[in-house]
């Protein structure tokens, strides 16, 4: 699997790029290398995200998680969950968090 120098869905400063997060969700491509996802799909998230089963970071190849975690702006508290499928949830007007989230629906 080819891995890019810069992760596809993250900007140079380590922030998630909303349009690319949406592209990953709908095209079903990896947020790291931008190639088609496999099965299982991996998500990285803080313990809070894991607890609420809603992740900001887009889906990843299991193999790309290691590459992502090696980047300087990777959160050291990130945990990994794997799933077969996920729901893509766009924010509502009244939500304090205006980023879309991913909800794994068949955890492995």
């Amino acid at each position: 699997m080819s891995v890019t120098v810069l992760p596809f869905a993250w900007g140079a400063g380590g922030e998630l790029v909303k349009a690319r997060v949406t592209q990953c969700a709908l095209s079903r491509i990896c947020g790291m290398c931008s190639r088609p996802l496999g099965r299982p799909v991996a998500f990285v998230g803080t313990p809070l995200e894991v607890g609420r089963n809603a992740f900001h970071a887009p889906p990843l190849h299991a193999g790309c998680v290691t590459e992502l975690r090696a980047l300087p702006y990777a959160d050291p508290t990130w945990e990994v969950v794997t799933t077969s499928g996920f729901e893509f949830v766009r924010p509502n007007r009244e939500d304090a968090d205006q980023q879309p989230t991913f909800e794994p629906n068949s955890l492995l």
Binding site: T4, L6, P7, F8, R20, T22, Q23, L26, S27, R28, I29, C33, S34, P36, L37, G38, R39, V41, S84, G85, F86, E87, F88, V89, R90, P91, N92, R93, E94, N105, S106, L108
Partner: protein, 397 residues
């Protein structure tokens, strides 16, 4: 028509739009929570039927020199291709069945019986078309880069040939779709990344070659001395699938009542506004259960666009609720018999081959009087793009 105009058109306040969104969320949650064994049984049954039809069709064509065997084999093979592309492949690649955790029925590894590589379909359809539905300048499904389908699009003398381009697109639809993600408009304008284009072309050539090899060399060869009649049967099955899928797809967004939008209006839209745009940009058609299954459940195009990743077998029950919401909020729910929806689409193709001044607008009247909410007029808005197809795939390289 911009989304701001639509809000006036639909006379809904911001709070009413958000309330509609919450009611659609509730429908979604209900389906997600009840998704289970019956749904899994449905898709497994569809795959069994499809494979049975394909097998029986191929076997019948061993005797393709006899007219009844040719007719039966062609019919079964055509039906199998339609079922595979529409109800199975298209929906599996949306991730509608990923929750089953089935290694075979999964969006990541389904490759379908048509010339376009699955990876490119998931970009051009799942992302570009579903995210930017009917947005001029973004959604390449508006006329597939060769047809003028909206009055907002600038007329050019080349549009006079639309009836011919349309007939060619219909008959060769799988090859038109195969080239869809290349984005011919971007190539024409020199905006396509050559490296990405080369990578995509390589994929298309490989997939197309395998399709040709399968239908026009291997299976005819297996028929021995009946190779010629098997070849014509396979070609007929492919053309049948092309015509049917073209008609179904065009009926999803081009009958009267399905609206077009402009690109500056989609920035920062909320989930509820996104729902609204999907509902107003899509059109359903009526038909029997069999018709809907063979159409890949795209007779429920409105429901499919609102919930593209929910199992397709649940769209009929979702449609009852979505239609009730449209009535409650007095917003259009565009539907009608298949012949009428396609008739309107065909009429639009013919009319828009001519300049706007020579034809009339067929948009239906709004269901409620419009209300001035103080939004910007067209003159106050930034200049809009008037053409389609400039979207480029921006993959990291």
């Amino acid at each position: 028509m911009a989304i701001a105009d639509v809000k006036e058109y639909t006379h809904l306040s911001t709070e009413e739009v958000e309330q509609l969104g919450r009611e659609l969320d509730a429908i979604r949650t209900e389906i997600e929570e009840s998704r289970g064994a019956a749904d899994a049984a449905y898709i497994n049954k569809m795959i069994r039927i499809q494979r049975g039809l394909a097998f029986a069709g191929r076997v019948a064509l061993f005797a393709s020199h006899k007219k009844p065997a040719w007719a039966a084999g062609t019919a079964m093979l055509g039906a199998a291709k339609i079922l595979e592309n529409m109800e199975i492949g298209h929906n599996v690649m949306h991730g509608q069945w990923d929750w089953m955790n089935d290694p075979e029925i999964h969006s990541s590894n389904w490759e379908w019986d048509t010339a376009q590589p699955a990876e490119q379909w998931k970009h051009s359809h799942n992302y570009v078309h579903h995210q930017f539905t009917n947005v001029l300048g973004h959604d390449n499904d508006i006329g597939y880069g060769i047809l003028r389908m909206a009055r907002e699009q600038k007329w050019h003398p080349v549009n006079l040939g639309q009836p011919v381009y349309n007939a060619l697109l219909a008959g060769l639809f799988q090859w038109g779709v195969a080239l869809h993600d290349l984005d011919l408009e971007a190539i024409r304008k020199g905006k396509k990344d050559p490296k990405e284009m080369k990578r995509q072309l390589k994929q298309i050539v490989k997939k197309g070659r395998n399709q040709i090899l399968k239908d026009y060399i291997v299976y005819p060869a297996l028929s021995g001395k009946n190779w010629k009649t098997t070849l014509t049967a396979n070609a007929t099955a492919n053309v049948t699938r092309n015509l049917w899928s073209y008609m179904i797809i065009f009926c999803g967004h081009f009958p009267d009542g399905a609206l077009h939008f402009t690109e500056e209006e989609i920035e920062d839209e909320t989930r509820a506004e996104w729902y609204l745009r999907q509902m107003l940009g899509s059109a359903n058609f009526e038909g029997s259960r069999l018709t809907h299954v063979m159409a890949g459940s795209l007779g429920y195009q409105i429901e499919h666009h609102v919930f593209p990743d929910l199992p397709s077998n649940r769209y009929p029950e979702i449609a009852v609720k979505v239609r009730a919401l449209c009535e409650k909020y007095d917003i259009p729910y565009t539907t009608g018999p298949l012949y009428r929806q396609y008739g309107q689409t065909l009429r639009t193709i013919m009319k828009l081959s001519l300049p706007n001044a020579m034809t009339s607008d067929d948009s239906p009247e709004p269901p409620s009087p419009s209300i001035d909410r103080g939004r910007k007029t067209d003159a106050e808005r930034p200049t809009r793009r008037q053409e389609t197809g400039a979207y480029m795939r921006k993959a990291a390289s």
